[in-house]
Symmetry: C2
Subunit: 311 residues, 2 copies
């Protein structure tokens, strides 16, 4: 299955307790596409960059076999730029600046060749823009969508419209509680799915992720990492692994969705091991499958020996 | 295997968003023993209560087949009493009062008949008292220990002594981070195990629990409950299910410990469904095994169909 990812491509300034880097290749659509391409081709990107966007970063995407027909270069402006500082425990970060730049007027135009994309990944964007993407594609089999607290706070009505036309929402636990106005995640998940999305994934950072589909709840662990260099892009990478795996399997049933959550989690566990997308540039199938096996080892409840008490 | 649980038996005043009750049967050793008795006999209790302790609560413990030879009744004082108020999200609570009462002079005396206990559960008590318990028993196969931030803050040296003589520490994630002075839980777990305990369980509330044994990490989900009435005693109930299951299986290997974490989690998921220990009074094997199966359903990563890509 083909994948289309719409979102941002950015230049990030990142500070963590382990270092600081400026003008790091960033953006939701970048992380999602550079991840999904491990699973399927073609992976199509729709985003905008400015006149300052380095050729070497274009080459990184091309080397990753990302289809760049949909990447607009705006000669009038600078690339979207975000700067964040992570704290000691890496679970919290301060945004130091957000320069929208060319993103301010971004209105994604989907190339004709992309209209038939079977899976559409809507990165965190203004909810109205997310809907305009969907108006430009033929009926995809799966629309996966991210959002954030900013849109819940400021454009809730528009977000609720978007929720009605997507299949799968991927948000973090704080956003889920805020969107549902409910502290209990199970109740919050039910309320959010009543808003539209048939499938809900709640990301919980170091505590893993939860999948809600029909009457099924699936809980995936996070991979226990001792050495996290940079959490930037973990969520977008999760989306790339999740959607990429589904595209490869060409199945959307609960079993496949559960595995997709594990593949998303596995890819996210790689990306945080280095600054920016570095770790996504040189993975191979053996590494990915070893990590998947590690997730199985981590969460498998051993079967009882036959002589023991049942279950 | 026999189990001995040393800790508190209390009268609790509990407020949650769903109601308030006074003089609820409480205390760590109460929750642990009333849970462990579902798995094994005998379950031995060492604690102290005051002259005000109601006969009907003694009867609850007797009906639960808890061996009360080690329960001292101090005619000079009142029973230890704790009062807590849970907030809207149930993850946080305020302690309204802690009346130590007879606990102030509690120095547990282990009856001779208890010396041969094979598993010893040390509830949250002053670390020096925990060690004095161990001096009064023959060499048990497993010593499981709880502690809390208060002892880390105020009696760290004594706690470090206790950690050297126990096999398994069960604490929550905030306590683990504090004890190891390290935000990363994997690193924190390593440091804590270097302090003594060969086995470490980190409880994460709604995010489940982690087991560390040798080079193995196991991640257990929490049971997704929509209706939590009262979180009091969940940790002590976890210990009762964990230790009780190990006592029944008479095995302490990694596979059995993983299942013990699930049994502990399952029992904790029951106790929070009602106020105080109410839910522990009338469970049956079928209910417990159904919940264990629910944990399996929740966390099992489906195997790939043979035709698909590996893992």
């Amino acid at each position: 299955m083909s994948i289309l990812a719409v979102g941002t491509v950015a230049l990030d300034d990142i500070e963590t307790p382990f270092g600081a880097q400026t003008d790091v290749l960033g953006g939701s659509a970048m992380y999602t596409t550079l991840t999904a391409r491990y699973f399927v081709e073609p992976v199509r990107l729709v985003a905008v960059v400015g006149r300052d966007f380095p050729d070497r970063y274009l080459q990184v995407l091309r080397d990753g076999k990302v289809d760049l027909e949909g990447l607009a270069v705006d000669p009038e402006g600078e690339t979207f730029s975000w700067s964040g500082r992570y704290h000691y425990d890496l679970n919290d970060r301060d945004t130091l600046f957000t320069h929208l730049n060319v993103l301010e007027t971004f209105d994604p135009v989907i190339p004709d060749a992309y209209r038939d994309s079977r899976i559409v990944c809507l990165g965190n964007l203004e909810p109205g823009i997310q809907r305009r993407v969907l108006e430009q594609v033929d009926r995809p089999e799966l629309v996966v969508c991210d959002t954030m607290n900013f849109w819940i706070d400021h454009t809730l009505d528009s977000l609720l419209e978007t929720l009605k036309v997507i299949d799968c929402l991927i948000i973090n636990d704080a956003e889920a509680r805020q969107l549902a106005d409910e502290p209990n995640l199970v109740i919050a998940a039910r309320r959010i799915r009543e808003m539209g999305p048939r499938i809900l994934v709640i990301k919980k950072g170091e505590h893993g992720a939860m999948l809600f589909i029909d009457d099924t709840i699936f809980v995936a662990p996070a991979f226990p990492l001792e050495d996290i260099q940079d959490p930037t892009g973990a969520g977008d990478t999760f989306m790339g692994g999740f959607a990429g795996y589904l595209a490869r399997e060409e199945r959307l049933d609960a079993e496949c969705l559960k595995r997709a959550v594990i593949f998303g989690s596995a890819m996210a566990s790689f990306v945080v091991e280095s600054f920016g997308p570095e770790r996504l540039l040189n993975l191979d199938d053996a590494q990915i499958h070893a990590r998947i096996q590690a997730f199985r080892d981590l969460s498998t409840i051993p079967a009882l020996v036959p002589s023991g008490i049942s279950s």
